[in-house]
């Protein structure tokens, strides 16, 4: 019995997770080193990877700051009513329920060149949709809950008595946060950041709608993979996908490490 179950699980994991990753790696080397290098050295590949990196950095910075602060407020703030907190708390999860395509559509509808805000900003020379700002906003939307969901349970678990003690002893809010709260939430924040990086790197639907997928301008690594597949340029698609997959595996390893740190605090 026991053998059978273990065997089944190993087979499922091999078929569903291991073989696909190996296949991508093999696909990239289909035409040998030159095929992989050819896919990687195109100017659009460099630009797409640069765009992805840029978006990841901006989104992670903004969402880390706002995510940690929002979790603090949702758990600790006395100026928010209990009912209001519950409502806000359930709203945080909304991006999980929204299809990325719909997320992108929302931004096009609200900030596109035909809307009041979009037209106003357009006249001021700032393009939102089909440009970097829109792609950043789309990714911000999609990754927003990740950090909040990691940090909030830890804040609830550690309670507020230590923070109150620090405040009673005369520490400022700032000092209390850095000396008392931060050390205990640190690893959950790191874990949330890793999830955010992974999601921002891999975001596809929302970015595809918002960016218009303009080559060498608003194309990211994932939308480049999509375009290569549509153009039947599978070797090049594999090369870029392999880079992305390597990034995800590295993040996964880091995540395991962060998880073990999180458990010991």
């Amino acid at each position: 019995m026991r053998r059978l179950w273990i065997g089944c699980t190993v087979v499922v994991f091999t078929l569903l997770l291991i073989i696909p990753v190996v296949r991508i790696a093999m696909g990239a080397w289909n035409e040998g080193w030159s095929g992989f290098a050819g896919g990687m050295t195109r100017p659009e590949t460099g630009h797409a990877l640069f765009m992805t990196g840029l978006i990841v950095v901006i989104v992670t910075l903004i969402n880390t700051v706002f995510g940690v602060m929002l979790s603090l407020y949702l758990v600790r703030a006395t100026w928010l009513g209990r009912k209001l907190k519950q409502l806000l708390n359930s709203i945080v999860d909304l991006p999980f329920a929204v299809s990325p395509v719909i997320g992108g559509l929302m931004i096009v509808l609200l900030l596109g060149p035909d809307t009041a805000i979009g037209a106003l900003l357009g006249r001021a020379g700032v393009d939102i949709v089909y440009a970097l700002p829109g792609m950043v906003i789309a990714t911000l939307f999609v990754t927003f809950p990740l950090i909040v969901r990691e940090v909030m349970p830890v804040l609830q678990e550690i309670g507020s008595s230590q923070e109150e003690a620090a405040a009673t002893l005369g520490a400022s809010a700032w000092t209390t946060f850095w000396r008392v709260t931060w050390p205990s939430i640190r690893w959950s924040v790191v874990y949330g950041v890793v999830l955010t990086v992974a999601r921002a790197m891999g975001e596809f639907g929302a970015v595809l709608v918002v960016s218009g997928n303009i080559i060498n301008k608003t194309q990211t690594a994932t939308t480049l993979v999509y375009q290569d597949v549509e153009n039947f340029n599978l070797t090049a698609a594999n090369a870029v996908a392999l880079v992305l997959a390597a990034g995800s595996v590295a993040l996964l390893l880091f995540m395991e490490w962060a998880k073990s740190r999180k458990e010991v605090h």
Binding site: C8, L17, I18, V21, L110, V225, L244, S248, E256
Partner: protein, 267 residues
């Protein structure tokens, strides 16, 4: 005094960010779908292709969720209860679909099931095709939602009191009976909430599916790809109407998951 201004500023900034980024766009899409009046809205959602797309998505997401419930429960059980070489590796691999870009996941399915691949040829010889047909969509959905059930069931199995099972054995229950009467009821809340999350994710999936579905209207065109197509062809009305339909469905699921979890914490 200085301090109070700072904290007031922080509070408003965070709340404003939250409302502008999350609440405002979602209200915007509901508003936009009704901006041309109810008649236009009903016109757009009664479009047969749109209905077809939504129903197909729900059907395939149900299949994917059922597969995930079976495979996920088994994997969670094996990973927690048994010790075998490679267990840790498998356990960390579970999160791979979350870490991997969905477009890459789609490409993987495409490569593995394509007509020139081993599986594709085998299926061809048996007289059916996988790629660009429904099975490929289900496989893509299963891959993307794979971690949900496992990650929801694992903590419950870990927390479970061994004494309950021991009591069942002592009272003479067989292994199978103990599983059905004692272990499974304990896992059930996790299975349910994991399955609902997987279902809502499968409904929303775009990246992995768009590459493998073939996107033939009325046959393999799922809702999110339909929305994308409407956006591309500048039919905002059709796109928002189906978005509202899909969004409402996912919101209902999300809130029932929250409700179930809250009730569990309550008692």
């Amino acid at each position: 005094m200085h301090n109070r201004w700072w904290s007031w500023g922080f509070r408003s900034a965070v709340m404003l960010y939250f409302v502008l980024l999350i609440v405002f766009p979602i209200c915007g899409i509901y508003g936009q779908s009704l901006s041309a009046g109810w008649a236009a809205f009903f016109d757009n959602i009664s479009e047969p292709l749109a209905w077809n797309a939504v129903l197909l998505t729900v059907k395939l997401a149900v299949f994917a969720t059922i597969i995930n419930i079976l495979v996920g429960t088994m994997s969670a059980w094996v990973l927690i209860r048994y010790r075998f070489p490679g267990r840790r590796l498998l356990n960390s691999l579970v999160d791979l679909p979350f870490a991997l870009p969905t477009a890459v996941a789609g490409l993987m399915v495409l490569l593995l099931l394509g007509p020139r691949s081993f599986v594709g040829e085998l299926a061809e010889r048996l007289g059916f095709t996988i790629l660009f047909h429904e099975p490929a969509i289900v496989i893509a959905m299963v891959f993307v939602t794979f971690p949900f059930v496992i990650r929801a069931v694992q903590p419950l199995l870990e927390e479970m009191d061994a004494s309950e099972e021991e009591a069942a054995y002592t009272l003479g229950a067989t292994k199978a009976k103990t599983f059905w009467r004692v272990v499974l009821p304990n896992m059930l809340p996790g299975i349910l909430s994991g399955a609902m999350l997987a279902f809502s994710r499968a409904l929303a999936e775009f990246g992995a599916v768009v590459l493998v579905a073939g996107n033939i209207p009325g046959k393999t065109l799922i809702a999110s790809v339909y929305i994308f197509g409407e956006i591309e062809s500048d039919n905002v009305g059709g796109a928002t109407a189906v978005s509202v339909l899909l969004l409402t469905l996912s919101l209902l699921i999300l809130w029932s998951v929250n409700y179930v979890q809250m009730r569990r914490k309550g008692v």
